[in-house]
Symmetry: D4
Subunit: 143 residues, 8 copies
């Protein structure tokens, strides 16, 4: 990863993906950009390309981050790992990201919802039903 | 937004962006997918396409979420809004996402770092230097 | 809901309910106020009229807000929902309001009591006895 | 306040205000109910009658409780009391209730909003601008 | 309770218990003080007289306040009340005061210890063994 | 401090102060109890005798514990110590005990009040006015 | 322990262990230093000498402090003490120090790890598996 | 760092420093141990050797961990870094270790004291006097 690679990744991450445009932005010949990008794609540093969705326009204007406490001893008795739980949570509709974290909780997920009634449904009828979830603490994004 | 639109957005969000592949996945004729996707792109529900980066491979394996408390009265006296602060934070290198939130802090950002020494540098020499930041609380992603 | 509707609701909410008085306050002919209020009542935006009680004079000078943590897995095994629990809590005497919330607890209720001994009785002998209650945290209103 | 008074207040509080209906519910002659209610009204135990609004239908579906920390020394230097601050907060549009509390914050208010963008506006542009407010912590009602 | 009663109680509480000294302090004839004190004793406002111990000199220099969380459902199943638990805790040696409280815990006790090793023994081998104790949080007095 | 001294202090602390009664309780000859008690009094282990007040009967039924955060830098600039602050707080009427503590606050006091309105007055008009007080957190005793 | 002993221990603790160097630093004849150090070693005040490791260079650059909550009633039923649990934790590789503490948790350990993925493995596959562990809260050292 | 290096460091860290003893423990010829240890010393992986002090016997039986919050804006105006503050804290007598941390505070130090009165003195007269310290939270080690 040299400085050029880094710049290309930054731009790619913000939606500039055409080689010609990248070449203009970093002020490097198109051929070099081509080689670099192909290498980053081949090494799976750029895993793939994806749509960048405006979730508000898509009818999901409410974003929430949910800190999840786990019942460690229940998981032990179920022989279920935290990674397993995280996968289960990530398979739920409307759950977009998930992490094992340090600090005041065990898991941390990002959820999109239509409104606070919908968020309530997601929390109570889907997230709370994943075995091992003891307590959730929801942070709502404003605006 | 009908059910088909939703499905197309979900798939697009996970990196399936070729119309032929989308058509296969949702089991809908290519021509219909084409019309729908063009509409979603035109309405900017799909804002653009972007690279999905494996930041670990890109040399930034440490992800941290930082809860930021704001000095409300300092902001008042500086006539600076929280949205302004958020923009400043988002302009910092390695800061990837940012939100105004409810709950135990005012702002919430996602940061990528090389290691804990690098994270320290980002926190102390860049984030703490944004006017209005009173206190930060860092959650480190494990694994 | 136009601006006039909003003003009428605000006034109605603070105890101004006679159409003549409303007409004077918003400076709109009585006939118009009449039509609007009838519509708001018919659409159940104004659900009904109720007494506004001075609970201090009624012998319940102590107001407390109680944050309630729920045992998610117990509820699962009992096939009991949080909404069900909330209804149970709201059916208790002295419990006046109740909400499912985000943040540091699951449920949130408002309680009126005669004094701190009475509040203790309500908490220990009634609220704690509702199945699913794990922990309560009481905020006492001063004054 | 005997048992009959208490029952009448409970019913009045939930929207049963016609004497005939009250008489039926408590199973006491109308004349007695009449005397009691008149007394409760005269003693201002029933302060007045008000509309019970369905705020969701009125376009304000989002309810939030906001815990507010106060800068005690700033208030001292401004010779401003907490009761004064509370009055200021209660005079803001969309702020419905307010209390001085024990526990993890100093003031506690209830706010109604159109959606999370509106709540953000109320918090950042109105509540945060009341002198003496140091920090707010928002609890969002679900559903 | 008039002002004189209050003053007499304040003084009595700080160790001034001889009527002659009380008479001098409040500047009221001895005979009046005599009558008042006898009344306060008879009404059990002054329950009895007790030694005011300097616990440091008595070999217990370490004071700790312990916040105790209770397992509400365990208590339910044991048909044991919080008052019962409090009595059990107060019967332990070195536990001097105990309260049912609002806020971040359920019970609150004051403990005296020889040193931190002794405090550890009290906590782990006595307080933790009282059925219903889920978690304790210890505040150590400095100096 | 041998075992007998300890027992005598325990009893003295709970209001058994007559030597004859102490002698009976510990089952030791009166003459020995006399010598021991005189020694404990002379060494100021028993500092003095005081009335044990039933504050509820004395018109102060509400007990509160208040955790106080201090503005360390303000104290520095005022050349005022925490012990000085504690003395100031202890000189306030209704403040009964005070401690410098470890853990989630700096100072810790016990307050007696007539009711929640009186507690509000003590907090806002007296405790908050002591220079150096930044924030208070009140725990109310139930019952 | 006089002042000289204290100084010698301080120096010994920071890696100055040759008597000649100690003698120079404290400006005391070598013979005196010799006698004192031998006494401190014999009395096991200096328990032994050990290497002071630069764990970063040793491939463990990530230091974390972990606060551990214990399930008090599980321990009771297992007849297992907190000291026993602590020993179990200290026997785990990468766990370097351990304490029973007051305050917001029960146990407190120091862990060294290669990176955040390794820390995740230590936490989830080793610490969480010690019977009695209910919840952990991890503080990561920066830099 | 191969497995042998790791084992040697572990042993060295626990006070086994004589090559002969190390050789026996790891069951590797003395000559190999000699080469490895010399290399580890030369590369400063083993920085030096130090005494392992029994602080209880040395008259400092009370261990405390102190979480320190920093006034970020004061530091900015003083052009003082957190690392600078940490150095200042570490230069205080009785402060043994210090870290910049993530999570609920900014700095974290370990302190040894004679008793709780001594700890009070260290906190109030030394740590609180370091410019930039806003708040401290003390965790006392039990036993």
């Amino acid at each position: 990863m040299d400085k050029l690679d880094e710049e290309l990744l930054q731009l790619t991450d913000t939606g500039i993906i055409r080689y010609s445009e990248l070449s203009r932005k970093v002020n490097i010949p198109l051929s070099t950009v081509h080689i670099r990008m192909k290498k980053l794609e081949k090494q799976k540093v750029i895993m793939h390309y994806k749509g960048d969705i405006d979730w508000k326009k898509a009818g999901l204007p409410l974003t929430a981050f949910i800190l999840i406490d786990i019942d460690v001893s229940l998981l032990q008795s179920l022989k279920k790992t935290q990674d397993k739980m995280l996968k289960e949570l990530l398979s739920l509709q409307y759950v977009k990201e998930g992490y094992v974290i340090t600090g005041e909780a065990d898991l941390f997920i990002k959820v999109l919802a239509k409104d606070s009634a919908h968020l309530k449904d997601i929390l109570l009828n889907h997230i709370d039903k994943v075995q091992g979830v003891v307590r959730t603490k929801t942070i709502v994004v404003l605006g």
